[in-house]
Amino acid sequence: MFGKQAYELLQEVASVPADNLPPFNEEAFRSVIDEVHMQHERLTTVYNESRERHRQRQEEEGGDPEEAAAGWQGTEAEATELMVYHSAILRNKRLLFTYVKERAERIQELRWTHRTLPEHVKANLSPLEQQYFRQYDRLLNKYCRSGGQGVGLDLTADPTPPDDPYVQVRVLRDYADVVFSSGKVSLRRGKSHWLPSDEVHPLVMDGVLELVGGTGGS
């Protein structure tokens, strides 16, 4: 039945969770394209043959051949056949377009959540899709950057609401004066400080600082 393979093609991507992509099915995609061209060729042939038969009928009846120039002159049954081909082409087109668009949307989503393509996904993309990711990356960077066409904000940052940007830490051993975005702090053993949460991680990992009771939770 017409459109069956295109339907299965779309189901391939629809049945996979949205944060993943199955391989681009080049073979099935090409097969559907071939089906469309076959349908279009048949549609054209039926239309032309029907017009030719009508023209011949007109000549046999001694009518004016010019009258046969415009519009549909075939039978209703032939019109129905044409509509089968026409609707099948539209169906295949819609399924193919949605297949490509759905995959493109997931590729865009990956740029928002991953910045770069995970290797397991990259292997599943067609060359055109890999190019699409790179171009979308450039477009988004252009919009986010400072100056010119950009808004000067990385819109992929802070997907969830921020909490207090500070955490309370205790100094575990004498260290040094450290310059944080909030100012210079002298890290002496035993002292407590409120420091920007996104800047203390290295010092916590080095054992210089420890967190004091989280950011306020019980």
């Binding site: 394209i33 469309v36 061209h37 279009h40 026409h86 082409i89 539209l90 087109k93 819609r94 193919l96 377009f97 297949y99 490509v100 668009k101 493109a104 865009q108 067609s126 055109l128 899709e129 699409y132 171009q135 979308y136 477009l139 252009k142 919009y143 066409q149 950009g150 808004v151 000067g152 904000l153 990385d154 819109l155 940052a157 802070d158 609401p161 921020p162 207090d164 940007p165 500070y166 975005s181 909030s182 100012g183 210079k184 409120w194 920007p196």
Partner: protein, 220 residues
């Protein structure tokens, strides 16, 4: 809406209890409206300009104050608020980009909708359309017979652009009334509702589309 004449003169936007809604509150409301509306709304040009100006000013204040140990607490207060306002601004710009991507062809096809975009968003929309359209053409359309290769019409003989995704204005939404409007028609049957300040409704978006544009309601 008051426009900034002098730099840093943002004390005009005081707390809600004294002189209307602050810029931060207006930004939050603009974000909520944008998130809850099916279509893209008018870009809040003046508000965003003020917000960005004030963010820069606060950054400058922090740079001036951070060397002073006595001002440490004030710096922490400023930085805490900045992270909140920046989150709202990012979220606002982000949700609008999502809508632009989703309805790019509809937006570019309708001058009144395109006029709702900022200059940078309009550029993004044009760039995105070129990118997305080029991909659709290269990956799919160029492989189809000419009569069926359009990106906007299912078949070139079709009169309407029957492939262009558009927002569904008949979706329902929660909204709150900000200004008394009396009797408001809420559907095609002629049913009405009394819209008084503070009322909370669940209603089809189409019924309050114009009121939202006028600032008489906000979405929740």
């Amino acid at each position: 809406m008051d426009t900034q004449d002098t730099e840093f003169d943002f004390l005009q936007s005081g707390p809600a209890s004294t002189s209307g809604r602050s810029d931060a509150e207006q930004l939050k409301s603009a974000l909520q409206n944008e998130k809850a509306a099916p279509e893209i709304l008018q870009y809040e040009t003046d508000l965003i300009a003020r917000i960005e100006q004030n963010l820069d000013y606060q950054d400058e204040q922090i740079e001036l104050l951070k060397e002073n140990d006595d001002m440490k607490l004030l710096v922490e207060i400023y930085l805490s608020e900045l992270s909140r306002v920046r989150y709202l601004l990012r979220a606002y710009l982000r949700v609008r980009l999502q809508k632009i991507e989703r309805h790019v062809m509809h937006i570019l096809d309708n001058a009144d909708v395109a006029a709702r975009l900022s200059a940078k968003e309009a550029q993004f929309a044009r760039d995105y359309f070129v990118l997305f359209g080029g991909h659709m053409r290269a990956a799919a359309a160029s492989h189809l017979p000419d009569a069926f290769s359009s990106l906007v019409r299912q078949a070139s003989a079709h009169p309407g652009k029957d492939m262009v995704p558009a927002p569904d204005l008949d979706r329902h939404a929660f909204c709150r009334v900000l200004e008394d409007r009396g009797s408001v028609t809420v559907d095609e049957e002629g049913n009405v509702a009394e819209f008084n300040r503070g009322d909370l409704f669940v209603i089809r978006y189409r019924a309050i589309q114009q009121l939202l544009a006028e600032g008489a309601v906000e979405l929740l």
